[in-house]
């Protein structure tokens, strides 16, 4: 058994090394709680690989246009939305070990308790996670990941990265993906001789993409620079999920410039 989980060890070593390197970058401030002006400036500074990142962004669009989208379109055509929703719930439930581990690593014991209860309820009453009765019973999702755990520990993002297939990330958050994989049952496909886990992994991706068919194009129609928008959205979404249960802090909203543009 020990031998089987060994493939994860190199990833963890890389992650440990990255954490050490990133620790040396500390002191830049928490990008997730900055004002829009400060955040833009900070994002600009940490996107040191922007030309390369933009290239990867285009590659991702190409892969989506010619592979993922066609497959997802076909999938959505034969699988009803109610089934796709259930499949989404199932995969979400399957990631509960990842969430639980990070709840604990962040010291959020109450969140960890809720995650464990959600998993128990949805795996049983929710028919192996196909349904989410736990949410209605007062056990909302406590979704988090190791990138956020590292953030809680004071590790800064480091350079912004556009990852092939995975999309926007940072050195810290990309490193966290390796740690999360240790707790994600589907990531064990590399030691699964039957290949079933590969199928499940692919199914998870296609099912997720199918929820948004016809809407990805909106990204390009509503933004003059889709890359910059995705980058901004990434950091805003990390800000949101860092405190998923905390309501909007209106005192943290930026001051509005009184400059009247219409005059």
């Amino acid at each position: 058994m020990l031998k089987k989980i060994r493939p994860k060890a190199p990833y963890l070593c890389v992650f440990a090394l990255l954490l050490v390197l990133l620790s040396g970058c500390a002191g830049k401030g928490d990008i997730e709680v900055m004002s829009p002006d400060e955040r833009e400036q900070q994002i600009e500074e940490i996107d040191v690989l922007e030309p390369f990142n933009r290239y990867i962004f285009e590659v991702n669009i190409f892969l989506d246009t010619f592979f993922l989208k066609p497959v997802s379109t076909w999938y959505a055509g034969i699988v009803p939305s109610v089934v796709r929703k259930g499949v989404g719930n199932f995969f979400e439930n399957l990631k509960s070990p990842v969430v639980l581990a990070n709840n604990l690593l962040q010291g959020e014991t109450e969140a960890a308790k809720i995650t464990a209860q959600r998993f128990a309820i949805n795996s049983s009453a929710g028919l192996l996670g196909l349904f989410d009765p736990a949410d209605g019973w007062g056990y909302p999702s406590q979704k988090t990941d190791f990138g956020q755990t590292a953030g809680v520990w004071g590790i800064p993002h480091g350079p912004f990265l556009m990852l092939p297939l995975f999309g926007p990330s940072s050195l810290r958050d990309a490193s966290g993906i390796a740690v999360d994989a240790v707790f994600d049952p589907l990531s064990y496909n590399i030691i699964d001789p039957s290949g079933v886990l590969y199928i499940f992994s692919g199914w998870r991706v296609v099912n997720g993409r199918a929820q948004f068919l016809g809407r990805l194009e909106d990204l390009y129609q509503t933004s003059v620079d889709p890359y910059a928008s995705v980058r901004s959205l990434y950091f805003q979404s990390r800000m949101k999920t860092k405190n998923p249960s905390v309501d909007l802090d209106i005192d943290a909203l930026p001051d509005i410039d009184e400059y009247d543009f219409s005059q």
């Binding site: 833009e40 939305s81 999309g167 948004f212 129609q221 949101k240 543009f261």
Partner: protein
């Protein structure tokens, strides 16, 4: 997975910028700090539903009505400057005029057609909070999508001023969907275009024109 997650955020953002203002059935829970602001948002939604869900009205006509609706209800004095970030004072008067016209058309074209797909979503206003001595109000709410178990948070950031007769007047400054402030996201794109073109404001105008044209072409097909 991160890619999918952020794409989802963006897609929701694109879809809901105005659907936040526009579609759905509204139920109000009365623990408001600013009942007038909540009522204003309710009115926005009801009016927009009436306009955009009318099967008798042509798309062209809806677009014209919706443009007036946006101009009347979005803060077109401060929002255009906010979207330019550090470059707000860069354009000449002539460029400012061009920019305002293009921005209005850009916003209108994008949202009119798309929002008609979301008539079944239910928006619930849950309360409101004010700051700056009541000059700014955030109306909070949720939107329930048919394919999601849990509703998404949905907030309207309003600017308020007293009219001569003492009644409040509101304008929408930004909308927050699932934790994403949409004007802030759009601003990143605007600023990036100007910056990556050596501070050329004309580059942004060209990008806006290009996108309006491509949207018009897509609508015509």
């Amino acid at each position: 997975m991160h890619y999918t997650h952020v794409m989802k955020q963006k897609l929701r953002s694109c879809v809901f910028l105005v659907s936040a203002i526009v579609f759905g059935l509204v139920a109000t829970h009365a623990y408001a700090e600013d009942a007038a602001a909540e009522k204003y948002v309710e009115g926005l939604i009801a009016t927009a539903i009436q306009v955009l869900s009318d099967a008798e009205t042509s798309d062209e006509r809806k677009q014209a009505i919706f443009e007036d609706f946006l101009i009347e209800n979005v803060d077109m004095k401060r929002l255009p400057a906010f979207l330019l970030g550090q470059y707000a004072r860069l354009p000449t008067d002539e460029e400012k005029a061009d920019y305002l016209n293009l921005l209005q058309e850009f916003m209108t074209r994008i949202y009119v057609v798309r929002l008609q797909e979301y008539t079944d979503d239910t928006i619930v206003i849950t309360g409101s909070r004010s700051r700056k001595e009541g000059r700014e109000v955030v109306v909070t709410g949720t939107i329930q999508l048919p394919d999601r178990a849990q509703p998404l948070s949905l907030d309207w950031w309003l600017l308020r001023r007293e009219q001569d007769d003492g009644s409040p007047e509101f304008r929408v400054f930004d909308v927050r969907v699932a934790g994403i402030w949409l004007a802030q996201e759009q601003r990143s794109g605007f600023v990036s275009v100007i910056r990556n073109n050596q501070g050329s404001f004309d580059a942004l105008l060209q990008h806006l024109r290009k996108q309006i044209d491509s949207q018009a072409t897509a609508s015509a097909q």
